[in-house]
């Protein structure tokens, strides 16, 4: 065999044909066809989730303000911003001629919504912030970041504006938890164990529709883990603590 040895036999990265072909196509060229029925059908659910998500975020920030009245002004500002986002995303659906399936979206959020309401009633601010300001916001940011790369031009512009705002929200919950870490760590861990698996399930539930929109499940999950890890790091948790918390996402 060695007599036939040729340099062309070397299977390095460069000679990996599939890889080279793929790499010559920048992702922006692989946009889906926004006009097909399949696309619009999937969009009716994804768009609804986004609209409902922004509405719930609005309501949640108003609710959180009842637990920290001195933050009322700041939280009202955030809530208003969420309503602006809701309007933007509603326009995205309209632009494509899609009617959002709001019933599906309400059901999609129901468990997380329920957990938030229970925490609110009990005055568990840490749990409320974990659900809204960390999990939902990281979920939203990750989805928007992935969506921007494959969205129609109108939705792309709207979503880019929204993402800028969303980074502000994440910071808000982050700051409060950071300041109060010594007293809220235990509750944070417990709440995370209950609610992070819900996020994972929600991601799995929309994976098929998302893939029709050219949003890759693996990429969505990675983006979520990046945003989630970044926030926990900022709050002041160490690598091991974050690893322990993230564990809830894979069981």
């Amino acid at each position: 065999m060695h007599n036939e040895l040729k340099i062309t036999d070397m299977q390095t990265l460069e000679s990996n044909k599939k890889t080279t072909e793929e790499s010559s196509n920048p992702i922006s060229l692989n946009l889906p066809d926004f006009t097909t029925d399949t696309y619009k059908d999937a969009y009716s659910r994804i768009n609804a989730i986004v609209i409902e998500g922004e509405q719930e975020a609005h309501d949640n920030y108003i609710s959180i303000a009842t637990l920290i009245p001195n933050e009322l002004e700041e939280l009202t500002k955030l809530a208003r911003m969420e309503m602006k986002h809701k309007k933007g995303f509603t326009a995205c659906g309209r632009n494509l001629g899609v009617v959002a399936d709001m019933e599906f979206a309400k059901k999609f959020f129901s468990k997380l919504h329920g957990n938030f309401q229970v925490a609110l009633e009990r005055g568990n601010l840490t749990t409320c912030l974990l659900i809204q300001a960390i999990l939902i916001e990281a979920f939203a940011i990750s989805a928007y970041n992935v969506y921007i790369r494959v969205a129609d031009p109108f939705a792309k512009k709207i979503t880019e504006g929204v993402v800028k705002d969303e980074y502000l929200h994440l910071n808000y919950g982050q700051e409060w938890l950071k300041e109060n870490l010594s007293t809220c760590k235990e509750e944070l861990m417990v709440a995370n164990k209950v609610n992070l698996p819900l996020i994972k399930k929600m991601l799995d539930e929309v994976a098929d529709d998302a893939s029709v929109l050219a949003m890759d499940r693996e990429e969505l999950m990675e983006e979520f883990m990046i945003a989630y890890q970044d926030t926990l790091m900022e709050i002041g948790l160490d690598n091991r603590e974050i690893a322990r918390m993230a564990m809830a996402a894979i069981v």
Binding site: L5, I7, T19, S24, Q229
Partner: protein, 346 residues
Amino acid sequence: MFGLIGHSTSFEDAKRKASMLGFDHIADGDLDVWCTAPPQLVENVEVKSATGISIEGSYIDSCFVPEMLSRFKTARRKVLNAMELAQKKGINITALGGFTSIIFENFNLLQHKQIRNTSLEWERFTTGNTHTAWVICKQLEINAPRIGIDLKKATVAVIGATGDIGSAVCRWLINKTGISELLMVARQQEPLALLQKELDGGTVTSLNEALPKADIVVWVASMPKTIEIDTDNLKKPCLMIDGGYPKNLDEKFQGENIHVLKGGIVEFFNDIGWNMMELAEMQNPQREMFACFAEAMILEFEKCHTNFSWGRNNISLEKMEFIGAASLKHGFSAIGLDKQPNVLTV
């Protein structure tokens, strides 16, 4: 601050290390979990140069493993996300280690400047290839005479001659060493012809023809596992410098008077209190590291915050001399044959 972006040599290895570091959520996960894992800043370290200057740096594991090479999008994300993390941490100069610089170059990641809300600043990154090329040349110059090869009479074959490191090594050998003959081997013939024209020297040949003629072989292309080499056809003594990634030449070339040297590895003059090179399976992990990593340290020592090694075929002799002089000044030296307990000399 300097940064090093690395990865594990295999998936199994990665899981073992993650478990060691307490990253249980990914240690227990399957490859799909690893594909969704964010990059991790694993370690911070302080390094003191032979001149007395102290610098700080971080090691970032991209969570890439070679098993992901066939997943183009995954591999691309791993590299870009690790780079974003390095920039967000405010690191001035970060070296792309192992497969990450290969992925960056071959998948043309230059077109992906915007990562979420971060616009990557290329001047913060270096492939480290200039230092790697210089170290390989020094390893050749120092070790060949020690096994009885006279450089002035030596034929040197460079396998992978048109790559970034390969072409720099050829440039140095022709201009700086006075070797008798340079044989250049690469897959693509067009860039080879261009290189020959630029160097105004060297002979373009095939791997089969080059191996029996060469006293010294510099490998800067990775070896497929299926290649079998008849060591009887090699010259004796013969020096093989394994400058590719991963380093697997010693599995292929075993025999009398065949000396295999791990190319592009340097040793620091002092122990560095870090764990990261244990992860990279260095023989003396407190001192040894990839030359590309050392380049980021050298640039930080020199306060030379620029993408020193970037793009392909930009490595000039002047740049090699600059990085080489700085490398020695701060206490790095190329590892030699006596560092290799698994070298077979009879």
